[in-house]
């Protein structure tokens, strides 16, 4: 395991999977448990949360006190290697328009699932048929009924807490009990429901109850972002890849940067070539099927870089669609402090890693000036002090009476120490995460002039937002203001959201839900994959990351990546049994 070196004439696997995140991990798990021989390529090193997590470290153990670096943008203890930049692996922009694509890349076993927010939402029936509803984008070639059995299976296999609410487009699931709301969440719930915004228990893949002998129950340290030593939350590393290695059917090759999909004269995929990052030499591994799960953009990059006489436009890309329809969730944020929560009694309210409540989309777009909805994520409470702790106190401590006294902003000394104690635990934050329209003119392509340090041509991005997304962000900002106002809160960030900053709408890519670049469809001229995530032009090539998504709803995409990957993997097992591939 780990450093297996494979020469060109090595054994032929049933499947070569590129990438070990949610999609690749699930494919490895299903295929290996069906007895198929799998080679799993991962561009980063081995990572086992049991040994490698920085869970329960104290802030002073980090000389930078948990601050982010370019190696770990979400903080020094975070469970994700790399992020917005990777040394020696650039990406570029076409530079048309004001928007830049921000590309998050993880390089490690399990990919970004080691640190993700564990928000595990099913797409609803409407989410697969949006064009039929509002005329924009495209319908999926499948519907909720096609994917529901797989959502059910992954709920049971991986565990997710939540509550059954009977909402039309936020389907119920097989849920573990949710944790009770924290204090600030009770305040939010009261304020938001008071102005007609629903607030329900969040749906996170965290084990509030043990579900099997291999994984422990959550012990409420709130640090899922660091990955979990007892496997109490879902990561592809802990819950899919490491268990699949135990079957003996998976050869994992780490530090393997895929370069190209190989094919024969008939255009069938024969394997993958990769650069071993340790010796910088090129290797080839062959398989009866090739499954791309390198992330939506990396999988598109692999297709576009795999040119041959059979596929002059990139592998299985006769349609020219590979790389197009790239889209992310929209995002805008706002936060403040709640005077009622000043000078709080101290107790441990860490809870799970993330919010205990959230607001699913609740409005009818027919009455709004934008299509598609968003959900609201909430944060706040007593957090571990880390780099940036109450940064900007000079904006806060003159704005309220502290222990009954009106003070001047700024200051120093014993009085300042009193201010920090008084304010601690009174912050709340809100983040809207919405659906953008997948468009053909939002794309990634190969930059003809730039290669990475492995000599592989890199991606160039061309993405922008329209009034649809900007109006949606405006609506988010207005809603956040209303909720904060209803709580008697004072807004501390996001208050300047307006036309000048597109109402706080983040750059595309910033929300880290990349999808759509290898989309599925019934029309082979307008899609790369069929409804099984199988290439129209090559029956033994599949893609199981965010690439196949036709649209991505106002729901975080991981649970759907997992469900689609399981569905495709079972299809592969079935097709192999029938000797169709």
């Amino acid at each position: 395991m780990g450093d297996l070196q494979i020469k060109k004439e090595s054994k032929k696997y049933d499947a070569v999977i590129v990438g070990s995140g949610a999609g690749g991990g699930m494919a490895a798990y299903v295929l290996a448990n069906a007895g198929l021989k799998v080679c799993l390529l991962e561009a980063g090193p081995m990572f086992d949360p049991k040994k490698d997590s920085n869970q329960l470290r104290n802030p002073w153990e980090s000389p930078r006190r948990g601050a982010g670096t370019r190696f770990r943008p979400f903080g020094d203890f975070d469970g994700c290697y790399w992020g917005w930049e990777i040394d020696g692996e650039p990406y570029t922009q076409t530079g048309k328009g004001p928007w830049k694509w921000e590309w998050w890349r993880a390089r490690m076993l399990g990919g970004r699932t080691n640190h993700w927010g564990r928000i595990s939402l099913r797409f609803g029936p409407k989410d697969f048929k949006r064009k039929s509803i509002d005329g924009l984008g495209d319908d999926w070639p499948i519907g909720y009924d096609d994917i529901k059995p797989y959502y059910d299976k992954i709920d049971r296999l991986l565990g997710v807490f939540g509550s059954n609410e009977g909402l039309e487009n936020d389907p119920d699931g097989i849920f573990l009990p949710p944790p009770k709301p924290r204090l600030h969440e009770l305040f939010i719930k009261r304020a938001a429901t008071g102005i007609g915004i629903p607030v329900i228990p969040s749906r996170l893949s965290i084990l509030t109850k043990q579900i099997n002998a291999e994984r422990g129950q959550c012990f409420f340290c709130s640090q899922c972002g660091r990955s979990c030593k007892v496997y109490g939350d879902f990561s592809s590393s802990s819950c899919l890849v490491i268990p699949s290695l135990k079957t003996g059917n998976v050869d994992l090759i780490t530090n393997a940067m895929a370069r190209e999909i190989l094919c024969d004269k008939e255009g069938l995929a024969t394997g993958v070539s990769y650069v071993n990052k340790t010796d910088m030499k090129e290797y080839q591994v062959s398989g009866r099927t090739v499954i791309l799960a390198a992330s939506a953009c990396e999988s598109a990059r692999l297709l576009l870089n795999s040119k041959s006489p059979r596929y002059p436009n990139g592998f299985a890309n006769g349609s020219g669609v590979a790389g197009k329809y790239l889209h992310d969730s929209t995002g805008a944020d706002m936060g403040g402090i709640i005077p009622e929560l000043f000078d709080r009694k101290r107790y441990n309210e860490d809870g799970v890693g993330g919010m205990h409540i959230y607001s699913p989309w609740w409005l009818d777009n027919k009455k709004l000036d934008f299509p598609r909805g968003y959900h609201i994520e909430y944060g706040g409470g007593f957090g571990m002090p880390l780099y940036g702790f109450y940064w900007g106190i000079e904006e806060l401590n003159g704005a309220y009476k502290i222990n009954g006294k009106q003070k001047e902003a700024g200051g120093y000394g014993i009085s300042l120490k009193e201010d920090y104690r008084y304010l601690f635990g009174s912050h709340i934050g809100m983040a809207g995460r919405g659906e953008s329209i997948a468009r053909e003119d939002n794309y990634c392509e190969i930059d003809p002039k730039v290669v990475d340090k492995y000599g592989i041509p890199v991606l160039r991005f061309n993405t922008s937002y329209t009034d649809y997304e900007i109006n949606q962000a405006k609506h988010m900002s207005e809603t956040f203001s209303e909720i904060l106002h209803a709580m008697g809160a004072i807004i501390t960030y996001g208050k300047d959201n307006g036309p000048k900053n597109n109402y706080g709408l983040h750059n595309p890519g910033n929300i880290i839900h990349e999808a759509g670049t290898v989309r599925m469809g019934n029309d082979r001229k307008r899609s790369v994959l069929n409804k099984w995530s199988q290439a129209h032009e090559c029956k033994n090539l599949f893609c199981v990351d965010g690439g196949p998504f036709v649209s991505q709803a106002d729901k975080n995409i991981t649970w759907t990546i997992l469900a689609l990957s399981m569905r495709t993997s079972e299809y592969i097992v079935d097709q192999m049994k029938k000797q169709n591939i």
Binding site: P63, P177, P179, F187, R346
Partner: protein, 225 residues
């Protein structure tokens, strides 16, 4: 006393506010501290690091950005911002000055604002008191600090803006450094980061805010005994 300890006592020792006036009156306290080590960076990591992270850390850990005079200034200011009180210790008790020496090499964007700010402060003190800040008497230091520590007082005095910006940065970095140490975490009262079972907001807290869980929450939410 090993070398590290002895240097620590020279740099940190006695630089609380009350001791400062005295120290400032003793003009020549130079000596062994000329090669001030980056104390925090000398700690070894025992948690998960990529090779690239270790390489970066090893590259910066021995760098010394602030000279002795600058460190003395930072130390005085840090202890003015976070002095000892009846709850917890001072900035120097929590090795806040050492954090400054480390963080400016890890986050070079802080270098110029801090160095230029110290220079600004010294220039002001030279004009007023004919001495750099660190050599001023305690009451002189407090006089100049009071000019820049209260942003709302001097909004119409653009000449003081660089000093206000510098002191804001000093305040924020000092607080970040202090409240992320064992002393600071205990002071602020963060009592998490330990395995536990979440059964909801304690009853007395709910009562204080006149809140209650709904029947459905009590019935359906996770409960541990």
């Amino acid at each position: 006393m090993d070398r590290r300890e002895s240097i620590k006592s020279i740099i940190i020792g006695g630089l609380t506010i009350s001791a400062l006036a005295e120290a400032c009156n003793a003009p020549d306290k130079k000596g062994a501290a000329t090669d001030h080590p980056n104390v925090l960076a000398r700690r070894t990591f025992d948690f998960n690091r990529m090779p690239e992270e270790l390489e970066h850390f090893n590259r910066i850990k021995d760098l010394i950005f602030f000279n002795e005079a600058e460190m003395a200034t930072i130390t005085i200011l840090a202890d003015i911002i976070i002095p000892r009180d009846n709850v917890s210790g001072s900035a120097t008790d929590a090795q806040v000055p050492e954090f400054f020496q480390f963080i400016v090499n890890d986050m070079p964007e802080h270098q110029a604002p801090l160095r230029d700010g110290i220079k600004w402060l010294d220039d002001q003190c030279m004009n007023r008191y004919k001495r750099p800040f660190k050599d001023c008497r305690g009451y002189e230091q407090m006089e100049i600090v009071d000019l820049i520590a209260w942003p709302d007082r001097v909004k119409d005095k653009p000449k003081l803006a660089p000093g206000v910006a510098f002191f804001n940065l000093m305040r924020n970095l000092t607080a970040t450094a202090f409240y992320t140490t064992e002393i600071g975490v205990k002071d602020i009262g963060y009592i998490g980061n330990t395995p536990n079972q979440w059964n909801g907001v304690p009853d007395d807290v709910l009562a204080h805010y006149k809140l209650a869980y709904s029947e459905r929450e009590l019935k359906e939410c996770a409960h541990y005994s």
